[in-house]
Symmetry: C2
Subunit: 314 residues, 2 copies
């Protein structure tokens, strides 16, 4: 039985969308043994109590009188607001009272909390975050790092490759995922210093199915299941792809393919490399995103995913 | 009177599309005093002679018996094929017999030829290449570097900013172009080491209208007229944007906005920073692209654009 912490103060529509998402998840996972611990202010918890009066076996609550805002400095906020939902969530996760923690609140605070509160999986140097990439025929790729590690060493890219392959296989269910190194040029030896040095590491990494360099034109097509890059490049790509939906909508273009660039539907971004599941939601997360985040946390716990990463990087 | 060299052996449909483009340019610029020197094999020139029999005052020809293929090693090919259209073109450009040189042939050979044959504009450290970015309402932005400089120093980004601003103002006709530094995060101090160090240089650069950091989500919107980044990031973005047209077409989506991602329509990529105009076309360049490249070369010559760059970087 897993206990998943959920910060109901995070997100632009807190706590309403979080509560909607929990309701959706409860309805769709009636047979799940997981429980959810809601963290929020007394007022927000009162809303939740009224809504989940019939679910007290699965929905638990803990008051967190403080709230970290979106624009607060992450390190300072976590230090000064120890009674905030995010600080309490990480405290409970670190000391084993929670099995996972989810928030659509201050992204920086979520990252700092992950790195400062939790241990790394043995052998992993730095945590990473990944994004789903929508592709034709309903397929999805995975791109990482998308923003935590703006300057990387070759060995880090090699670890992201292994972590991405593990996620693709275990969580996304892709058999023997193809791993590509994002680069400018197809042949080994092309690219910037980082990609030139990372290539031979990926090539000799026996844990992954390395298919070589992939280029910008390969991101949206089904060439590699996992695409590895530094967090600077990855974050630029992620935000560019996130802009496709609003930009095309503004041009009056509507199409089911473009709808898949509505990234909130994918739920949140798990922090990969720390020992416990932490899932960071978009500020605009809605009902589906929250339900998906709970489902992802449950899957990561059930499959013992994060501890299993040690076998991929060592 | 300018003499523009044009390699008719470059491009996937050589020499037909080049000749179509020349015909289009001739028809649309009957009052231009520029002449074009066609470089190609005897066979290709025979086609051209037949086609331009009535234009011998404006269309000149020089035989180049050798051709550099797309997959040849640029440095080796230029050295070994000194009678190729690209080698002869650069020779004539370097010794002042041509005022500009255009080819849709081997991109690497065009870059190597530019760097090895031509002097740099005084004060510019490295040449750069830029791409037009299509935006809503028919507007365009400029992104650079898009691939020559995969590892950059902060001072190089600062020079690209000035070069891009000059191009935006002089060639694209944008008054006081807004220059943004591509980064992950909006505030000064964010980003990777390169962007952190480049920011204060751009901020104090009196030649440009620096508006601060821009993010991936700003690329497709009208926030900055010129976006500066290293050539690794820029090339990934360029190739990703180039994939938008074929990927959406494959999904059955047709729209005038998406047609603007058909990059061939913009003609070629000028090499910025060398003393003489060199324009590199896409392999798939068609009639319109070739006509646009001739027009761009003419504009760069008329406006004395490349020599004028010295005032932007010193």
């Amino acid at each position: 039985m897993a206990l998943i912490g959920l910060d109901i103060m995070g997100g632009d529509f807190a706590p309403a969308k979080a509560l909607d998402g929990i309701a959706k998840w409860l309805a769709e996972h009636a047979d799940s043994s997981s429980k959810i611990l809601l963290l929020g202010t007394a007022e927000a918890l009162a809303d939740a109590s009224a809504r989940f009066a019939g679910n007290t076996d699965r929905i638990l609550m803990k008051e967190a009188p403080e709230v970290i805002g979106y624009h607060e400095h992450p390190v300072r906020a976590l230090k000064e607001k120890q009674q905030s939902s995010i600080a309490i969530g990480f405290g409970a996760l670190a000391n084993g009272k929670l099995d996972a923690f989810i928030s659509a609140g201050n992204t920086g605070a979520m990252l700092v909390g992950s790195m400062f509160s939790l241990k790394m999986v043995a052998g992993i140097q730095r945590p990473t975050i990944a994004t789903i990439i929508p592709r034709g025929s309903g397929k999805t790729g995975l791109l990482l790092d998308v923003g935590i590690n703006s300057d990387c060493k070759p060995e880090q890219l090699n670890q992201f490759a292994a972590i991405g392959a593990a996620y693709s296989k275990t969580i996304l269910g892709i058999d023997n995922p193809r791993v590509g190194l994002l680069n400018i040029g197809e042949e080994e030896g092309k690219g910037n210093l980082l990609s030139q040095q990372a290539y031979p590491l990926l090539k000799t990494n026996t844990h992954i199915n390395f298919i070589g360099n992939v280029e910008g034109r390969d991101i949206l097509i089904d060439r590699a299941d996992v695409i590895v890059c530094d967090g600077f490049t990855g974050n630029i790509i992620l935000k560019l792809l996130e802009s496709v939906y609003p930009v095309t909508r503004e041009q009056g273009i509507e199409h089911s393919y473009l709808n898949r660039f509505h990234f909130e539907q994918y739920g949140g971004t798990p922090v990969l490399g720390v020992e416990k599941p932490v899932i960071i939601g978009h500020g605009v997360s809605g009902e589906e995103a929250f339900a998906n985040m709970i489902g992802l946390a449950e899957t990561m716990i059930e499959k013992n995913f994060l501890p299993s990463l040690a076998a991929w990087v060592n």
